[in-house]
């Protein structure tokens, strides 16, 4: 064997296992899926039999479905609010645990722990909190008696249920994002802060003039990370609200907190419209692809500035 053929054989041999799995579960299903979005595909259909091309029908049908439009809107609202809530909480926590606290390492670990537990389990815990623990608080403390009113359960109304999802999302994710901010804050040269202190800068000015500008790089990372993760939220949605409570839109009953990922799932398995679910998934993919392109663009621009 010559050197060159040996290199080529090793190259393909080393890539083979990963390529095989990747092609089997990503590449083939991705192209099949993109194609199915434009066909009359149903769950009984296999790859080749009885498929008919229907153009953009699945997309136009989706756009006529109030539940999809509503999901789209509410997913954007949830994503933006969740992103803000997580990052503000995480940054505040990071400032606290990088300070001169005695138990700061224990605090860091505690804030981080929810992140290790899966969203599905966290959702059930909080369903119990919102449906049982919070009303019970209302019966114990007279001033909070409105909490015990069964008609005013937090998960019983759209807006408060969405707020509940943001609370859980923040609780789950803030500790992780905090760790990224902690790494950024601890990278700030200590001399800078000492010098600012000498010049009489208050903690607030030091925060504005030193800490925040020097953490700018990590803001890009955390913003996009929370943006994409909030947009893809599924597990907490399933176990906390299952998309409920129901409400009406354009004369049709819809689910009040059904985010896009859950809407796609329900379209396929509850409404049994597989090709339409596939079309929605395609739109979902396009949105994420655009977000990623923006992220790459922003990062490139930042690199040039540096």
């Amino acid at each position: 064997m010559t050197k060159k053929t040996e290199s080529r054989v090793v190259f393909w041999a080393f890539l083979a296992p990963v390529l095989f799995a990747f092609i089997m579960v990503m590449i083939i299903p991705f192209f099949l899926g993109s194609y199915y979005a434009f066909t009359n595909w149903t769950s009984s259909a296999r790859v080749d039999n009885g498929l008919r091309f229907v153009g953009f029908k699945n997309f136009t049908n989706s756009l006529k479905d109030p539940s999809f439009l509503y999901s789209f809107g509410i997913t954007f609202v949830y994503t933006i609010l969740n992103m803000i809530a997580i990052n503000v909480t995480a940054f505040a926590l990071a400032l606290l645990v990088t300070g001169n606290l005695r138990f700061k390492n224990i605090y860091r670990v505690g804030f981080f722990v929810p992140n290790l537990i899966g969203g599905i389990i966290l959702g059930y815990i909080w369903q119990f909190i919102f449906n049982n623990a919070v009303p019970s608080l209302g019966t114990i403390i007279p001033a909070l008696s409105f909490l015990a009113d069964p008609d005013k359960l937090i998960l019983g109304k759209n807006t408060s249920a969405l707020a509940a999802m943001i609370i859980v999302g923040t609780w789950q994710y803030a500790g992780y994002i905090m760790m990224i901010y902690v790494a950024a804050i601890e990278n700030i040269p200590q001399e800078l802060i000492e010098a600012a202190k000498m010049d009489g800068a208050t903690p607030w000015i030091r925060l504005k003039a030193i800490t925040i500008p020097l953490c700018a790089q990590s803001f890009t990372v955390t913003m996009f990370l929370t943006l994409v993760n909030s947009f893809k939220q599924f597990d907490v949605n399933v176990s906390l609200t299952s998309g409920g409570p129901s409400t009406m839109l354009m004369g049709k009953p819809i689910l009040g907190t059904e985010l896009l990922a859950l809407n796609i799932y329900n379209t396929a398995f509850i409404s049994n419209k597989l090709s339409e679910a596939q079309a929605r998934a395609f739109v979902f993919f396009l949105v994420l692809a655009i977000i990623s392109l923006i992220q790459v663009y922003v990062n490139k621009k930042k690199e040039i500035e540096l």
């Binding site: 991705f30 899926g33 606290l101 599905i120 049982n132 019970s136 992780y176």
Partner: protein
């Protein structure tokens, strides 16, 4: 002395505020623990009270352990097998691929790497339905069962976990000097020996990151096992088991919370042992 006085009181306030937030953060877990030690009646009537008899905790744990719908021992074992085997294979295969892609400078090589990176944008939602029908087709043609089996779900985890893992190995391997490998070649080492004897051991820090990121994802994953393994299967992961149980025993919070407690315990124990690596790994993974 005077200057340090206000700062000290500031620190005390910060310490108290942080401690309160810390307790609030962990309070949900405390609720799970105390309510796992109650009877069904107690849970619904007094969810915030301490349990009257801690012995109930043992009773509830026994109920969940022996429950037909959670099948805890079985699910725990399945979860461990799926996570462990997937992790080992993702780790070794992605490291191999990352090395091959860095050290081979051809157009094909860069194109393959680009496809891996670009595929990170693809959400699971667009591939999940075709994946199921494709797996069925593969079974029809080859007779190899992929749905509802270990091999099917492990194959899926390798495929979905590979892009990020390869990307991370790729970045790390780029920084390893080529001289190291050239020296080994002169000493008569074959390519595969170079990788397994020299490169792979150097990769330990990035391997830790890859294992942590994939481990947390796979252990907690819900949607992929739900679709690939399905319900009422012998192979069932813990998140799936908990969700089945919660669906079947609606409002039986004493038992649901015990199931949740038992599902969390392995993670918490593991975290306490590997805390340092987990936090480091997750932060490194995010920044890259």
């Amino acid at each position: 002395m005077k200057a340090s006085q206000p700062r000290k009181s500031g620190t005390v306030i910060a310490e108290i505020v942080t401690a309160i937030i810390f307790l609030l953060f962990l309070f949900p877990f405390l609720l799970v623990l105390i309510n796992s030690a109650k009877t069904s009646f107690e849970v619904t009537q007094y969810p915030l009270a301490l349990p009257t008899r801690w012995g109930n905790l043992i009773d509830n744990i026994v109920k969940i352990w022996t429950s037909e719908s959670v099948r805890y021992p079985n699910s725990l074992l399945s979860s461990i097998i799926i996570t462990a085997v997937s992790l080992v294979l993702i780790n070794v295969f992605s490291a191999m691929a990352g090395w091959a892609l860095v050290r081979t400078k051809t157009k094909t090589s860069s194109a393959i790497f680009f496809i891996f990176v670009a595929s990170m944008v693809i959400p699971f939602q667009i591939v999940m339905f075709p994946l199921l029908s494709w797996f069925r087709t593969v079974t029809d043609v080859t007779g190899i069962r992929l749905l509802r089996t270990y091999q099917g779900i492990i194959l899926s985890y390798i495929g979905f976990g590979a892009p990020l893992s390869i990307f991370m190995f790729h970045g790390f391997i780029k920084s390893i000097p080529l001289e190291l490998e050239e020296a080994a070649t002169i000493d008569g080492c074959h390519k595969h020996q170079i990788f397994f004897k020299i490169i792979f051991p150097i990769l330990t820090p990035i391997q830790a990151t890859v294992l942590v990121l994939n481990g947390i994802w796979i252990w907690n994953d819900y949607l992929l096992p739900l679709l690939v393994l399905g319900k009422g299967n012998d192979v069932m992961t813990l998140p799936l088991a908990v969700s089945n149980f919660a669906g079947a025993f609606v409002k039986q919070w004493d038992l649901i919370l015990t199931a949740i407690l038992l599902a969390m315990v392995p993670v918490i124990i593991f975290f306490l042992f590997a805390q340092k690596y987990i936090v480091k790994g997750m932060v490194a993974g995010a920044i890259k």
